[in-house]
Amino acid sequence: MLSNITIGQYFPGTSFIHRLDPRTKILLTVMLIVCIFVSKGFMGFALIALFMLFCAKLSRISLKFIIRGLKPIAFIVSFTFILNLFLGAGTDVIWEWGVLSITKQGVRNAVYMAVRLVLLVTGTQLLTLTTSPIALTDGLERLFSPFKKIGFPAHELAMMMSIALRFIPTLIEETEKITKAQKARGADFESGNLLKRAKAMLPLLIPLFVGSFRRADDLAMAMEARCYRGGNGRTKMNPLTFAKIDLIAAGVFTALFAAIIVLNIFGIF
């Protein structure tokens, strides 16, 4: 059933990585992305890949699961690879056919780009697999809260995100119900050209919209009834706190970051 789908791809657990403060994980993921882009050679990539492997092992999430998560980007990776392969600028031509040519630099660029993409997605996957959507929104809210002073609605955005997460399954369920009801009235969502099909969606979309507004109204009232009046003065049942493990993680990470820089400076590829 559609309503059984999980939002995001959180994989519950209690590992070292799971227990890290979401803020630590978000910041370190950003740093990891920086690492991936400043790395200039295979040594750097290998180091990062090893590190990720280590994190995955630590999080007790099976590699199969992570690799499966890469499937959706397989096309983009191959596409960038081919594009870089043939269109990359360079002088050392290896192969030529009409306007198409492959150069040494082109090959290197193509491989690098592909590796970068794979590492990038794996890195962010490690974040979303080990952090619940709630923890993620919490973490983001706290990270952005210093910007509240300049009018950035950190709390409101986080609240919107968590409400969206809460209501996505409900709306999917409702979509299913309305689709069935209209089908029972002879509605046809599947045949005809694009325009016809778009028009056929109206009996589905209008009730869905009307329903969503009603829900939004109800929810706003229910929140008010439970004394909600914005982020000011709110406390948290489980406030985020940095612990020793966050320090350890940051330490390990700084070491990795330093290693990448050293590799870059000494030009070890």
Partner: protein
């Protein structure tokens, strides 16, 4: 021609940890002109069953025959929906058109009928639904809860199905709304349609239906005339389904020396029996 259900089984999410057998080898015939009540708890398989009767859902195994034709085998969907109308729970949430009239016309339009025929059908359906003419041009969203519900049912009636399936038509309505709904269902019935009504309410079913089917864990647990079903107090109790209040009182009085026949299950019948018993003495 009747609706025949043969060895119907439906499994949700087969091969996953969520696998559940919602329907387990159901065999059933609904004759033309019957008024059947279908009761059972949430999760007993009622909703899954009715969605098979007009091909909204496909059987995992077994088949459903409408007018002798297997509806999962190459029959045009619109042909089935012309014959078997299905009104879901809270049908007012499917309303979408600018006016009540237009909304009711949606079904007949999908059947490809002529404008004239559509107009006639819309009028008939709205009249049967007990909606005043001044409400026909209104936006469906301006109607009261009970009126919206009846307008939505009219949308299915306008397709002139021979069999009408109603899933909890009175859910959430107030007493007046419920009695208006009963009136509407009776007038649909009077027009000659076969009706299958899903309900949680023993009292509603007792008041209206001629045959009651009780579902439990994806199977048919009881099937018979109301007086037959309501004499199975023990069995119903095991399924956490109550008896209508009149049947409960009947059983209690009988343990205390009254001799009220076991086929009494409405308040009216019970009143007569009590009067008989008390006036004799």
């Amino acid at each position: 021609m009747p609706i025949q259900v043969e060895h119907l089984t439906h499994v949700y999410a087969p091969g996953t940890p969520f696998e559940t057998k919602a329907l387990d080898d159901i065999n059933l015939t609904i004759e033309d002109g019957e008024f059947v009540g279908l009761i059972g708890h949430t999760g007993s398989g009622k909703s899954t069953l009715i969605q098979h009767l007009n091909a909204i859902m496909k059987p995992t195994s077994g088949r459903v025959l409408v007018d002798g034709e297997d509806i999962s085998q190459g029959v045009k969907k619109s042909d089935i929906r012309k014959k078997v109308g299905l009104v879901f729970q809270y049908p007012e949430y499917q309303l979408f058109e600018e006016t009540v009239e237009k909304d009711v016309a949606f079904g007949p339009k999908n059947l490809g009928l002529s404008e004239d025929e559509i107009a006639v059908r819309v009028k008939e359906a709205l009249e049967m639904a007990g909606l005043e003419e001044e409400q026909w041009k209104k936006s469906p969203f301006e109607l009261s809860g009970g009126q919206k519900r009846r307008a939505a049912i009219a949308g299915v009636l306008a397709m002139k199905p021979k069999t009408l399936i109603l899933d909890e038509p009175a859910a959430g309505l107030d007493p007046k709304g419920r009695s208006e709904m009963r009136r509407m269902i009776r007038s649909i019935r009077a027009s000659g349609a076969t009706i299958l009504m899903v309900s949680h309410s023993m009292d509603d079913v007792a008041r209206m239906c001629e045959r009651i089917i009780v579902m439990n864990h994806g199977k048919i647990a009881l099937d018979g005339r109301p007086d037959e079903v309501f004499s199975e107090g023990e069995k119903l109790h095991e399924m956490h389904l109550g008896l209508p209040a009149a049947a409960v009182l009947r059983d209690r009085l009988n343990t205390r020396g009254f001799q009220i026949p076991a086929n009494v299950y409405t308040i009216e019948q019970l009143k007569e029996e009590i009067l008989k018993a008390l006036k004799k003495e």
